[in-house]
Amino acid sequence: MRTVLASTLLVLPLWSAFAAAPPENVRAYLTGHCTKCHSGEKPKGKLDLESLAADFSVDADRRRWQIVAERVKAGTMPPKTQPRPAAGDVQMLTDWIGSQAAAAETARRAAHGRTVLRRLNRVEYENTVRDLLRIEVDLKEALPADTAADGFDNAGLALHTSSFLLEKYLDAAETALNLAIVNGPQPPLVKKRFSFKDERAVKVATEKVFLARDDDLVMFSSSPWNSITTGQFYPQNRGIYRIRVSASGHQSAGQPVSFQIDAGPMLMGTKNHLVGYFEAAADQPTIVEFTDHFEARNTLRVLPYGLATAQAVNKIGAEKYEGPGLAVQWVEYEGPLYDQWPPASHRRIFGDLQQAKVPIQSDRNHLEVVSSDPASDAKEIFHRFVYRAFRRTVTDDDIAPFVALFEQKLAAQYTFEQAVRVALKGVLVSPEFLFFRERPGRLDDFALASRLSYFLWSTMPDDELLSLAGEGKLEQPGVLREQVERMLKSPQSRALTENFLSQWLGLRDIDFTVPDHLMYPEYDDLLKTSMVEETQRFFEEILKEDLSLTNFVASDFTFANERLARHYGIPGVKGHALVKVALPPELHRGGVMTMGSVLKVTANGTTTSPIVRGAWVLERIMGTPPPPPPGGVPAIEPDIRGATTIREQLAKHRQIESCANCHKLIDPPGFALESFDVIGGWRDFYRTRGGGKAVVVDGKRMYYGRGKDIDPADELQGGRRFQNIDEFKQLLLEDKDQLARALATKLLTYATGRAPEAADKAEVDAVVAKIRDKNYGLRSLVHEIVQSSIFQSK
């Protein structure tokens, strides 16, 4: 079918046959500079400019025109071998494309608004249910993964609904309501202190790695199987528990000994989470205290960090072993902790309605909420609940469907509470709960409250935002500014780090590969955790202190702990807590591109690719994403046998003109980053498996050999040469406006669920202009984004 159409087009005369033909001067330009290659039966790059209609209301056509503008503007088209078009002509063409795209977009927006109706993604869904019901619950794992667009998983266009998803929502709603509503008395508070000496793991250990003494148990090995998963803390009831651990460094020569604590079901294959890395002072009991949410029958696991392997300790035996160990005196737990009973989650739904015994088959003491005036109590419950769930004021009409559900179930002999539960389940799958309610034009105050809240907190607006919206005050610039400040100061703004930052930089892929332990023996989990935390803390610091966003490209500080400092070569950092540290210039660090986390997610665990890293920098930092790779071009085959380098392989690639056009844009940033290996370590040479000179580290012969030397030099557009990563960063800093535009675009995309387009260019530039005088401060940028009309309109 498609082929038939294409060949029909061939016999058509030029643009004149099309209703939507470009104006004469544009046609003249195209004929003069483009159509020699970009027309005919096999147009280059599959771009046939003779048949490309100038109908900018068609998304696909508009995008093609925009790519034309980008190439021409960047000077990559026409190719170097062809005569250069006059600067004025280039301007004429790009202006025409820009204005056409903007006009089409403006027309569409007037009718429909810029964004597309967006539903909560699974992270937002879980957070919203958590805050609506005041419960701790993991729901997102039960929902199918969301698809992303423009780099973020909250893009309206990409978020689809299916019957399967709806079915999962029904299940999730039931799970959540079962946790929020209680049908029994408060679980008893248990407080207990115990010793690791009594742990089964210690008693049945076949390796001599534990030493039981009068007052403590010493753990000498850091091998994962020598961790202690405690059987003595195994709560029967879910809830918040306070945990205290007393531990000290043993035979540690005055140095603290580190350990890690994990919490979770601790069964194979289940998801546990890291509570943290802690330090126990030498010979001096240190008490570590934390509270955490535990599901029933979940528990804790303790493992010393950085000590010897099981084999090394076992060979000598714990009794005679003279190396350092972790002495654990006792562990104490207390919980589940509740402020009140029934808990807040229950009261938020039912208010002060009383519970009474309603025996059921499985529980004779089963309690249920009862009502002497079901109709009016239910209505009150629904008004209260639906207002928060829909994130706006509600009328009797809004709650009518839920009243109807309630009455229907009551008529079917359901009890009051059972009927209320069905109706609340209905609220949680209602389109008004699942979707954002945004109307074309300027957002009303409630829609604005939601947009703001999902931007900064990834969850529903809290009571203050909702009441300001109810009073119609939120749209006032001063009020909005105050609210942004309040929200950024709240711990909930951690969501911006977790959801914006991690997607902007791709940190969610940190576990996608585990580097080969023979090629990268220095890699461990603490390093990985520290890398990610470094980037997070760095972002939060820049946001908190309104530091310049140019710090993302180059900075004279970062955050590091002892482990990460060792990786980077920063002297004098002790302990596991990340602290702000100054970066000596000779370390070539500073900014996100040279952080371990970013360097790891842009590599594959075995090799680095300047293409992947270059595209990453173009897309995420420079704001000039490369076009997607053309089909049919064989990818470079990575080879670590040492005979060839990626630069040599790419050189062949770049000799082909059609490849060179993009690759001379993509590769240079990637080459600059070749000085960093797959785990973000500095390197002067490639590690190879194909022989090469022996490499010795700390007296140990490494499994890998010394391969060819790294060559990080290259040049950017316009012949701007750089010798290394430092010079490359300086070149990027020459156009600070562009860096700001790039980040503003990312933030706007994330904040509104759709990437800004041509029609928004002026507004994005205005945002950039406003922060130019504020040293490009990141906090200022967030404020200006919230104040912008892009943010405040659908």
Binding site: H112, P440, R689
Partner: protein, 420 residues
């Protein structure tokens, strides 16, 4: 080779269940014994690829010389075709190609404008799914599924074989069944109400927004139908099997254990006619699979960089996949059904979204097609421009669907014929 519409209806309409030796026959399935036996499809994806040089024979045609991977499938040489050269046109290099593996949607990428299309199993489920208790099963060893709806949404996957087994074969206690029926009824009452709300929301919205609400509407409608069907099925006894409920493989790296459980489940589900459509996403993690001689993470091994040591470990991992596939084929072949065996009625499609995982390329995909009543026994080497969708059209037609195109197809797969 195309079934007529009439014969399709005859085949589909009455053959409700054919649980033979392991299962209790209910009245309907007794009646069905004389009808055409059902046709089935299982699509399996190894997301980290299969090393081509170990799989593809040098020679095309029937007289090919076996390869290390095909050696493990030698008992099934006449029951399978190995196909080289296939790719999805417009599906670019990279792990994102997994989105399009069963949909053929072009340019899967995380940018605006990409919308996935329906996967072939879900398309088939729309037509033949109502004939079984489960329209389809979307199994996964790691969480991500291969199946997509018409609206471009990911179908959630089942990762725990024990719970799937329970849903398929274990009867709950009477009060649990009652509770489940009540839950289904509550669900239908709720859907009734929320559909109306979506209609009210539509006022004043633009076309793009309406599309989104339309997705919601159709989801409500489809789910209503499914809940109604589920309610009907919940009054009928489940098939009984001799097999015990399996223990889930809890080690997240356990490629072999997880695959085996999913394959065993596939065999049981087909044998009892609980479903006729299954997709399976195999494990492809960064972890070290517990296989003797393997010390590197699986993902890392796929990025072997031509290192002989890594290639050797990768071979060990992939040989296990082949061994497990052989086991599945064996089970299907041994299961008799109405004068034939299950394998003859089940198209087993085993492949990967990656052609060469080391460079993330998506051309020359490794394809093994077994069973399904095709003429097998050859290495079918097709032109590099042949769309994988052509094979999908052949597979869909084999299921009895009157479909002439799918995704980027240009026809059926030339060289693949139905057995006489």
């Amino acid at each position: 080779m195309k079934l007529s519409r009439r014969s399709f209806l005859r085949a589909g309409g009455v053959s409700l269940a054919l649980p033979l030796f392991d299962a209790v026959l209910d009245r309907q399935s007794r009646g069905a014994l004389n009808a055409d036996p059902p046709r089935r499809l299982v699509c399996i994806c190894a997301p980290l690829g299969l090393h081509g040089p170990n799989l593809f024979p040098q020679q095309a045609g029937r007289d090919y010389e076996s390869t290390p991977y095909l050696d493990l499938l030698k008992d099934f040489r006449d029951d399978l075709t190995v196909i080289s050269g296939l790719a999805h046109p417009g599906v670019d290099s990279g792990h994102d190609s997994i989105f399009s593996f069963l949909t053929a949607a072009q340019h899967p990428e995380r940018r605006a404008g990409f919308k996935n299309s329906i996967s072939l199993d879900q398309l088939a489920a729309e037509k033949i799914g109502t004939q079984t208790r489960f329209p389809s099963l979307t199994l996964s060893a790691e969480g991500f599924s291969l199946s997509w709806t018409r609206s471009g949404a990911l179908v959630p996957s089942d990762v725990w074989p024990a719970s799937v087994f329970a849903r398929l074969f274990l009867e709950g206690k009477p009060e649990e069944v009652q509770k489940q029926i009540r839950r289904l009824q509550d669900g239908r009452s709720i859907l009734d109400q929320v559909g109306d709300q979506a209609r009210r929301m539509q006022a004043g919205l633009g076309a793009g927004d309406r599309d989104k609400l339309d997705e919601y509407f159709s989801s409500v409608r489809e789910l209503e139908q499914r809940l109604a069907a589920n309610e009907e099925w919940s009054h009928k006894p489940k098939p009984k099997v001799e097999a015990q409920q399996p223990q889930n493989a809890m080690n997240a790296a356990d490629l072999v254990g997880k695959t085996k459980l999913l394959f065993d489940l596939t065999h049981l589900a087909f044998q009892t006619d609980s479903t006729r459509l299954i997709t399976i996403m195999l494990l492809g993690t960064s972890l070290v699979p517990p296989i003797p001689g393997v010390s590197d993470g699986h993902h890392n091994l796929s990025h072997h960089g031509q290192d002989p040591g890594k290639l050797e470990q990768l071979r060990k991992v992939e040989l296990e996949k082949m061994r497990l596939l052989a086991e599945l084929l064996g089970k299907l072949k041994q299961s008799q059904e109405a004068g034939g065996n299950l394998l003859d009625r089940t198209s087993v499609f085993f492949s990967s979204n990656l052609g060469n995982a080391s460079s993330h390329s998506c051309t020359n995909l490794p394809v093994i097609l077994a069973g399904g009543g095709f003429k097998h026994g050859q290495h079918l080497a097709v032109d590099a421009s042949t769309p994988l969708s052509n094979l999908y059209v052949s597979l869909l037609q084999r299921l009895g669907l009157e479909i002439g195109e799918f995704g980027t197809s240009t026809g059926t797969l030339t060289g693949l014929e139905v057995a006489g």
